[in-house]
């Protein structure tokens, strides 16, 4: 489009930014879902249920928050679920053999981080599109985990370690504290550090970002490593919550994490989105599933509903964005 038309088509700037409007819609959606569920079901508003929702949302959020950074750079990490499985099994083994939860946690985080770094190397040094690199990594990690576990299940971990996933502090589940901490760290990192700014710039136009003097390769490595490390963190929560680890625990994690990112308003084309949005996305996803459970809707319907919400959210975002341009 030419200069005059573009200038002509742009509406007067409203006092609310694009991001603020999108966030407002999402909070409204959360409120409406809660209102409807509260009317339809008495137990929805019970403290136990709300804490349960938050705890479930936290698991999705840990994986999805790291993934958000990857998606902000216009990449995708399909290996997060498989990474959780491998990291959980490795961490579980370390705890069993050494008896030290601390060592296990460190190994889990490191395992996740190294996998992420390998993804980053494939994307930057080998220039494999992230979708394909991490898709391949998904199979590699699955293969490693199945071979390593050989059909066994690890279970029975020290009580102290199990507190991380299922314990309470001042009446709130510990994962909820962790959720708040990482929500804060993630938001600060993306919005208030120069690395965060550079990540947005890379997603918006990688060529221009490089020619603007941003060390694109190093930032991408960082982003994939963070995504992997967050998967590692999720694996620890998972392990401690379930008190067991199997090779196939990751298979149901990747797609919901991507759904949370998309429902949260982060664009797959990069450069647009927030970590807080992803939290709201995880919350919406969990609320809907929780509501369906409470209303005794068959679990078979859940994937269908998730799919519709994702499509709806992305469509609405594109519509508001198009109107703004």
């Amino acid at each position: 489009m030419t200069d005059i038309t573009k200038e002509a088509l742009s509406p007067p700037r409203s006092f609310l930014s694009q991001d603020a409007i999108q966030l407002f819609y999402r909070l409204l959606a959360v409120f409406l879902i809660c209102a409807v569920l509260a009317v339809l079901n008495d137990s929805f508003l019970s403290l136990g249920n709300i804490l349960n929702v938050l705890r479930q949302a936290s698991l999705t959020f840990f994986i999805a928050s790291g993934l958000t950074l990857v998606v902000l750079t216009a990449g995708l990490d399909l290996s997060v679920g498989a990474n959780v499985a491998l990291s959980a099994c490795v961490a579980g083994t370390v705890i069993h053999t050494t008896g030290s939860p601390a060592l296990g946690i460190l190994t889990g985080l490191a395992c996740g981080g190294i996998v992420g770094l390998l993804n980053g190397i494939m994307v930057t040094a080998l220039r494999i599109p992230s979708f394909i690199a991490t898709y391949g990594m998904l199979w590699v990690l699955n293969g490693l985990t199945y071979w390593y576990m050989a059909g066994e299940t690890l279970h029975g971990f020290p009580a102290g370690f199990r507190q991380i996933g299922s314990g309470y502090l001042f009446g709130l589940p510990i994962p909820v504290y962790l959720l708040l901490v990482f929500l804060g760290i993630g938001t600060l990192f993306a919005q208030r550090t120069i690395w965060g700014q550079e990540i947005y710039a890379i997603g918006a136009n990688p060529v221009a970002a490089r020619l603007s003097g941003i060390p694109v390769t190093r930032r991408l490595l960082l982003v994939y490593a963070v995504s992997g490390t967050m998967a590692g963190l999720a694996s620890i929560i998972f392990l401690s919550r379930l008190n067991s680890a199997e090779a196939d625990i990751g298979e149901s994690l990747t797609l919901p994490a991507i759904a949370a990112v998309l429902i949260g308003g982060t664009s797959l084309f990069g450069g647009v989105g927030t970590v807080f949005g992803t939290f709201i996305g995880a919350l919406i996803l969990t609320l809907v599933l929780n509501g369906m459970n409470l209303l005794a809707v068959s679990a078979n319907w859940q994937p269908l509903v998730t799919g519709i919400i994702v499509i709806l959210a992305v469509w609405l975002d594109m519509k508001t964005r198009r109107r703004a341009q």
Binding site: I4, E7, P11, R13, Q191, A204, R210, G213
Partner: protein
């Protein structure tokens, strides 16, 4: 065609009283425009004058709010691109609409392929023969089975034109068709235009280059602020008069430049630079306070030299010394040392179009502005506001999406981000491409001020007039090598052309 003909035959296409309003801006205001058969009609105006809007109304991409269309004297309506196509109107856009992985013949007949004997198949032999015949008629000697993405810009343009002709286009609209062409390719295009004219095809031609307007135009329509200012014949006006019509004020065509008495200290020294992109043994020096030109034909390796110095392309051998110390590596290292690249294609390489003016202005200065690594949006905003004022960037605020600004203002944003970063050497690659006359002067005044304050500039330009006016001296490139050096007193268009020409 003489005056009596015009009265006898109605124009091929006439637009009367066209208006088009977008929220907040009147893009076209009561514009009339008549195109006669077999003429080249130049459309002149600064960016934002309404040329492109008029073109879009003409080809049915926009619907006019008011106004009438007449085809050979009969009233017609153009409310869709299909309407325009039926009237034989075709647009050759700056960004080509060819399918890169199909061959020339397939592109020309896309969607209209001759059917083969077996239903559902394409008669490959016929499509190639038809394409060959078509290419011959426009004087383009090439095998129609060549895949389009192996073609250069000029050749792709030829294919676009062939495609339009194959659709029986009688009116071709060309938007800055020579913008990406070398001198030789431009000549070929001009020859083709002459041939099309002889066949009675009419051409609406949008250009920013004065020389073309006089070389090609049969008639000139000048637009300003969405209004038609005047319609003239080239013989009746001077370039200065045209510029005055376009900008509505007198613009100094000699660009402002305060030449320093003696050059400053050595800032950049390139020794024997060779890169896999096709440049070899480049030796260049730039001193503080200088604007050094880098000329030569398109494809002679000018941009490749710029990219190699900035670290954007690999270097196989040679040395680059900047500010007394050798430099090598990725662009982030060059940027940190104080080298800036203002790339040729602003939109794809210079800016994140969907981000705000403010975001784009501070992106290269993040490390300098926030040494702790913590980003403060308010302080970033202040820096951006300062640059917007200093560079007089026309934007409602720092929060405006940068893609919505005009070309000249976008270019100021690209320069502004390097000002914020505190760059010492500015490498400009075609800094005035697609920028209107008024903004050009401003950009050059800005470059002049930069070097007066102790920075240095290396400037690539295909506009030899600009090089001659602004540069202290210039290197001329030919086929990936520096063919010669011209001091200030030797810097003439003739010398540049002589050194840059192929001696084949």
């Amino acid at each position: 065609m003489n005056a009596s003909d015009e009265i006898a035959t109605p124009p091929l296409l006439e637009l009367r009283g066209i208006s088009k309003t977008f929220p907040g801006v009147k893009a076209l205001d009561d514009v009339s425009f008549a195109l006669h058969a077999g003429e080249v009609h130049m459309l002149l105006g600064e960016n934002g004058a309404g040329k492109s809007s008029l073109m879009k109304v003409l080809c049915g991409a926009y619907q006019a709010d008011a106004g009438e269309f007449f085809y050979k004297g009969d009233k017609v309506t153009i409310t869709s691109t299909a309407d325009a196509q039926k009237l034989g109107i075709a647009v050759i856009f700056q960004e080509f609409s060819l399918v890169p992985y199909l061959d020339i013949a397939q592109n020309i007949f896309l969607g209209r392929e001759p059917k083969g004997r077996i239903p559902g198949t394409i008669d490959r032999r016929k499509i190639l023969a038809d394409a060959k015949r078509l290419l011959d008629t426009i004087g383009f000697d090439i095998d129609p089975s060549v895949v389009v993405n192996t073609l250069g810009v000029a050749q792709q343009q030829m294919v676009e034109i062939a495609k339009a002709i194959s659709q029986n286009a009688r009116i071709l609209v060309m938007d800055e068709p020579t913008a990406a062409l070398s001198d030789r390719e431009t000549e070929l295009l001009f020859a083709l235009i002459a041939r099309l004219k002889a066949d009675g095809v009419s051409i609406v031609y949008i250009s920013h280059r004065m020389a073309e307007v006089f070389a090609l135009g049969d008639r000139i329509t000048v637009l300003r602020d969405g209004r038609r200012i005047d319609g003239v014949r080239p013989a009746d006006v001077t370039p200065d008069q045209l510029v005055r019509m376009m900008v509505g004020r007198t613009v100094d065509m000699t660009y402002p430049r305060n030449f320093a008495d003696k050059p400053g200290e050595l800032l950049l020294q390139v020794k024997g630079l060779t890169s896999p992109t096709g440049i070899s043994d480049i030796n260049i020096e730039v001193r503080r306070g200088e604007i050094v030109g880098l000329c030569g034909l398109v494809g002679s390796g000018r941009s490749e030299v710029a990219r190699a110095i900035f670290g954007a392309d690999q270097v196989t051998s040679g040395e680059i010394v900047f500010d007394g110390k050798p430099i090598s590596g990725e662009p982030d290292i060059a940027a940190r040392r104080g080298i800036a690249l203002i790339p040729e294609s602003r939109k794809s390489e210079g800016l994140a179009l969907l981000r705000s003016v403010g975001d784009n202005l501070v992106v290269s200065a993040l490390r300098k502005l926030f040494p702790s690594g913590l980003f403060d949006p308010r302080s970033g905003q202040r820096t951006a506001d300062g640059l917007i004022r200093q560079l007089r960037i026309a934007t409602p605020s720092a929060r405006q999406t940068v893609g919505l600004l005009s070309g000249g203002n976008q270019q100021k944003v690209v320069i502004g981000k390097w000002l914020a970063a505190g760059a010492k050497l500015f490498i400009f690659d075609e800094p005035t491409r697609g920028i209107d006359v008024g903004a050009k002067s401003e950009i050059f005044a800005l470059i002049d001020r930069l070097v007066a304050e102790g920075a240095a500039a290396l400037m690539i330009s295909s506009e030899q007039v600009e090089i001659c006016h602004v540069c202290d001296r210039a290197y001329v490139m030919r086929e990936g090598r520096v063919a010669g050096h011209l001091a200030r007193n030797e810097l003439t268009e003739e010398n540049i052309v002589r050194l840059g020409m192929h001696h084949a």
